[in-house]
Structures are given as C-alpha cells and as structure tokens.
C-alpha cells in the first residue's frame, strides 16, 4: 500500500513538471547605480522594469527574473567582477544593460568563455560587437550618429571648420573619429581636437571651451558620456557666450538627454544633434511608451534614448524567449534567435543586423527649440532611414576584424 502511495506521488510529480513546463529565465542586469553616472542606470532600469511589468504575460507560462548589479564607474573593473559573479554564482541565462564601453570591452572575453548572451543597451564604441559572438547591441554605435553628422554639419548647418572635444575614453575617441571621417569627406576642416579628461567626474569645461572659442571654428562637436556631463557642457557653452561668438554646438544626442533637457535652459536652444531618439519623436509606439512611462514614474520623469534602447533590448530578449519557448540554456541559440529580429519601437523601425549583431535604425538630425508650451523640445531637421554602423560597413580600424 505504502509503495503504491509513493509511486502515485512520483507519477503525480512527473505529470506536473510535464504539463507546466515553465522556465524561469534569469537575466543579470548590469547598470551604474552609484557614482556620477547613477542616473544613466536609473533611466535604463526604469525601462527594463516597465517592459517586464507590462509584457510579462507575453512569455507566459515562462517567467523572467532580473538580478541587478552595480556597474560602478566607467572603468570596467567593477562591471567585470559583478558580471562574472552573476554568471558563476547566480547562474544567469543572459546579461543586459551596460552603460559604458569600458565595461563591455572588459566583459567580452568572459561572455565568450561562458557562452552567455550579452545584450548591450547603451555602450556605443563601434568595435565592441566584434569582440564576442555573444554580444548583441540594441543601442547604437558611435558611428550611427557621428558619421552622418559630419556630412550634415558641412552641407546643412554650414560648418566649414569644426573643433572636436571629447571625454577621454574609448567612445569619445570613436565618436569624434566618426564625425571627422564624415566631415572631412564632405570637405570640412578640423581645426583642433581637445580631450576633456576622464569620464569619472565632471570637469570644469570652461578652460577647454575657452580655448576652442579662441580658435573661432564654425562648429564645436562635443562627445560626453551624457549624464551629468551634458548639463556641464551646456552651462559652460552658454556662460562663455560661444553661440554669440559664432561657434555652433553640435554632437551626438548624448548632449541633450531628454531627462535633463528642461533643466538646461536657454543655453541649449539651437544645439543640433544627430540621434535615434527624443521624447518628441512622432510615432505611435513612442507616444504609447511615453504615456506608460508617465503613468508609472510621474509626469516630471522623462524617458531618454537610453530608456528607449533598454525598452527595445527587453523586447528583443522577450521575443527570443518566446521563440525558444523558454529554452535559453544554449547561449548561441539565443543569439541566433535575435539575429534579424526587428520591431517598431519608440525609436521607430529597428532591426538587428544578422551579420554584425548590431542595430540598424533611423537617424534624425534634431535641433533644440523652445516649444509653444514653453518647454524645451526638439525639431527634426532631417531623417535617414535604416542606418547601419558605418565603421563596420567601411571596415575602418578596429571595426575591420
């Protein structure tokens, strides 16, 4: 009798696991939650949470579990430590997040060895995707913005000469290189290239910009790691009266993140950037995204390009989980499932290029304006559809291998 009872229990247990068959997918989220760039982490973290909250039903009966760790400063060391811990101790199925290029660069060999997919939601140095076949990037390459900005600045903004200024770490060099390549090809001349110190703290930008002001270029192309630096750039630029002196401020969209734009004041008006997202971008998905965001985080909280990329990142992850029916143990299969993936997201139509695992998306030239309602916003000056990472297309430098 007793034996029968055991057998019955065993059969029941088998039946239960057999029918439910639900997988819990563990996703390690690595974002900066401390330090000068903590707000970048918050922008992406909020988007991840919002997506999971609204779309958990899409992958039912499977579930996801986000395990969050602090990426630390933009130097890579801490990110590597926490990500390795996530892989070995928490046994995550994939990693997502990554604000900074140094983190992604440091981590590439680890994910290759562990065969864990790594979904990048921000870090934009072009050649990062070449470092591991397990890296998929949903954000952008520096060349997405920098390269087309070169020709646009020369032809449309009227920059015949330009000075470059960049935060001295990999994406800074990459972004200015991208702009320079496009700008010189169009016929422009670079008069100076000024490194702006390390990304760890916001420097006093005034001496750097004063020097550039003295050189009187038509335009100043600035790359900074968004966040606190962006506000600093606008302040120093405004304080020095550079626009009045005839030096236009241009750059990638990192200069005017939506969550800080209202704080920047009049000094920001007239800044022209190249980028893939702004709150004011007109499409149905973006409108819905903004409504959900305000509902969840209040009317004074704005998503920005990082939030939009994080939103699409989670979307791609969810679609891969759905496609594989929760069987995500084989990292290579997860990456394969994401190759060629496309959607209409807040940024418009985006696609993951099957060859490079990097994103293909629309790029907009945007100018900061004062909107009729008194708030700062952007006006789209021009749009290029389906832009690929030009660094890998042209196989320039480290993008070749």
């Amino acid at each position: 009798m007793k034996l029968m009872k055991y057998l019955g229990a065993a059969a029941l247990a088998l039946a239960v696991t057999g029918t439910a068959n639900a997988e819990n997918v563990k996703i390690g989220v690595v974002l900066p939650f401390s330090g000068a760039n903590a707000d970048l982490g918050q922008q992406m973290d909020k988007a991840f949470d919002l997506y999971v909250k609204l779309h958990a039903k899409d992958i039912a009966p499977n579930t996801v579990e986000l395990i969050k760790r602090d990426e630390g400063p933009p130097t890579g060391a801490q990110a590597k430590t926490v990500a390795t811990e996530l892989i070995t101790n928490d046994k995550v199925n994939m990693l997502a997040g990554f604000s900074f290029s140094p983190s992604s660069i440091a981590l590439a060999p680890v994910v290759t060895q562990a065969k864990i997919p790594m979904v990048i939601s921000n870090a934009g140095t072009a050649w990062i995707t070449n470092l591991s076949p397990y890296i998929v990037r949903l954000s952008f390459s520096m060349w997405h913005h920098g390269y087309p900005m070169g020709a646009f600045a020369y032809d449309k903004i009227g920059c015949k000469t330009a000075a470059l200024a960049y935060t001295d770490f990999p994406p800074g060099k990459d972004s200015t290189e991208a702009f320079k390549t496009g700008f010189e090809k169009a016929g422009g001349k670079i008069v100076d290239s000024v490194p702006l110190g390390s990304p760890v703290q916001v420097p006093d930008f005034t001496p750097y910009f004063q020097k550039i002001k003295d050189e009187k270029p038509d335009c100043m192309y600035v790359f900074i790691p968004s966040g606190a630096h962006a506000t600093g750039v606008t302040k120093a630029y405004g304080e020095l009266g550079m626009r009045k002196a005839g030096v236009k401020l241009i750059g990638p969209m990192d200069l005017i993140p939506d969550n800080k734009l209202q704080d920047m004041g009049d000094a920001a008006i007239g800044t022209i950037v190249m980028g893939n997202y702004a709150v004011d971008l007109e499409n149905a998905e973006n409108k819905a995204f903004n409504e959900e965001w305000h509902k969840a985080y209040g009317k004074d909280s704005y998503p920005d390009f990082m939030s939009a990329a994080a939103w699409d990142s989670m979307h791609a992850i969810f679609d891969a989980i759905k496609k594989l029916n929760g069987k995500v143990d084989d990292g290579a299969k997860v990456v394969d499932a994401m190759k060629g993936w496309s959607t209409n997201g807040p940024r418009g139509h985006v696609m993951i290029d099957a060859d490079t695992r990097d994103i293909v998306q629309d790029e907009h030239a945007m100018e900061v304006i004062r909107k009729p309602d008194g708030k700062l916003g952007i006006k789209v000056l021009g749009t290029t559809k389906a832009v690929k990472d030009e660094c890998k297309v042209q196989k320039i430098g480290r993008c070749a291998s």
Partner: protein, 290 residues
C-alpha cells in the same frame, strides 16, 4: 593686446575663479585638521548638503540664488555642530583609521540620503539675470558668474584674514593650532573654539557646494567625487594655515586651468604633478608646521 597676453589674462581669470571655489570649500577642512588633527572625510558631504539646500530653496520656494547661498551656509554650519558634539568629539582621541571610517561612513550615508530625497539626476539652479551672460572688457569677454566667484572669494579671504589675524578669537585659534596643550594650559577653551571653527568651516563648505552647482552640476556623488581635490589643497597648503590654503588653491586652480587650456592632452596630470613636487620639497605643505 598681443595674443599670448590675452591667453594669459584668460587663464588667470578662469584659474582665479576656480581657485576661489577651491579655497572657500577647503579652508574649513584645513583649519579643523590643523586644530584637532581630525580627518573629516565627510567635509564633501557638508558641501553637498549646502548644494541641495540651495537647489530646494531656489527651485521649490523661489528664493533668490544669493540669499539661498547664505541660508545654506548658516543652516549647514548650525547642523554641523550637532554632528561635532554628538559624533565627532567622541573620536578626537581615537586613531586616524577610526576617524576616517566614521567620516567616510557618514559621507556614504549622505550620498544614500541625497539619492533617496533628490534622485541621482544631476540638479542645476536658476541664476539671476545679472549672473548669466558675460562682461565685456573690450579685448575679451568674461562670464559674469566667474567674476562673481572671484569677488566673493576676495571678500571672504579678507574677512577670514581679518578674523584670523586681527581678532581675539583668531589669535586663540592660531595659538591652538601651534600648540594645543600650551593653549589649553593658559585657559583657552580649545573644545569650544573647535566647535566654532568646525561650524564656520562646514558653513563655508556648504557655500562652496552651492557655488559648485553652476560649475559641475550637483549629484549625490558630489560628496566624495571632489573630496580628493579638497584634500590636495589642504595637503599642499599645510594643515591649519589660512595663508597656505589660499596659496595652494591659487597655485592649483591657475596651473590646472592653464594646463587644460594649453595642453589638454595631459588632462588632470598637472594637479598631481604639483602635489608631488610641493610635498617632496615641503612635506608639510606651503605653510604647515614641519
């Protein structure tokens, strides 16, 4: 005016403004370290608190920028007395390590509190009309905010110099820095003196924090991010010396600005180079006791 002269004037001007910020924020740290040998790594947290008070007053209550600075300095100065009496004084006789642990712990708690209250997004302040824009001197225009920093700095240096060198309390402070046991034995209440200077120093730090918002923006990590800078000023100037702190702030402010302008590739190298050279020649700083 020849080109190099314009550049020199420009570097001097920006460097001076930067130096004044460094002086205002660091002087309190120098005096408290000189007086009590107390290592207060939470000094940056007091500066940050001042910054957030200015943000709240200007943005939420619509109070002007300059009055807000004053309120922030007084409030933080007063609150710092509570910390000094309640926490710090217990560790005056403790080892450096224990002091460092307490104060860096306080700094981290301050960061967490600021993040909870204000979030990690960097804050800015609305400036009055007369602090925006620039002043044109013909051959060159200068940002008016930086001119304001210089004027404020010069006024504070004068007031502090007078208080330090020409008043009874100043003489007592100098005596206590030079030889504390002697000062105590002639009846100077060094304990009370310390509370007073601690409050003034913290208040000045808060003022510096308020002034820094326009320079660097304000986020919770301010409490530790720029602390190294303040400690360098204190070390190069010499503990407990007003003159030394001023000299160090000037040298570091101007050379750092000049380095950024003339040789941006070298980045933050200059600050550290000066620190190493000065401390090699004078291990106690410009005016520290050997």
């Amino acid at each position: 005016m020849p080109h190099f002269a314009i550049i020199a004037v420009s570097i001097l001007f920006d460097g001076l403004a930067y130096a004044m910020f460094l002086f205002i924020t660091s002087v309190g740290l120098s005096v408290t370290m000189g007086l009590m040998g107390f290592v207060n790594l939470a000094h940056g947290a007091f500066a940050m608190a001042g910054g957030y008070i200015v943000v709240s007053l200007t943005r939420n209550l619509g109070i002007g920028f300059v009055p807000s600075l004053a309120v922030a300095a007084v409030t933080v100065g007063a609150v710092s007395v509570v910390f000094e009496r309640g926490l710090y004084r217990r560790l005056y006789k403790a080892t450096d390590l224990e002091q460092v642990l307490l104060t860096i712990g306080l700094a981290f708690m301050a960061i967490a509190t600021a993040t909870y209250l204000y979030g990690p997004i960097p804050k800015s302040v609305p400036l009055p009309e007369w602090l925006q824009g620039d002043i044109n001197l013909g051959f060159r225009s200068f940002p008016s905010y930086r001119a304001f920093l210089i004027v404020l700095g010069v006024v504070l240096v004068t007031v502090l110099w007078y208080a330090f060198e020409r008043t009874n309390i100043g003489a007592k402070i100098r005596a206590a820095v030079d030889n504390r046991r002697m000062a105590e034995s002639v009846g100077i209440n060094v304990d009370l003196l310390f509370t007073l200077t601690f409050a003034v120093g913290s208040g000045l730090a808060a003022l510096g924090g308020g002034l820094a918002i326009q320079l660097f923006g304000l986020s919770p990590s301010f409490a530790v991010l720029y602390l190294v800078l303040f400690l360098i000023v204190v070390a190069v100037g010499g503990l407990g010396s007003l003159k030394g702190t001023l000299m160090a702030a000037l040298v570091i402010g101007i050379i750092d600005t000049g380095g950024k302008y003339l040789l941006a590739e070298a980045g933050g190298f200059f600050i550290y180079a000066i620190t190493v050279v000065v401390l090699l020649i004078k291990p106690a700083g410009f005016y520290g006791r050997e």
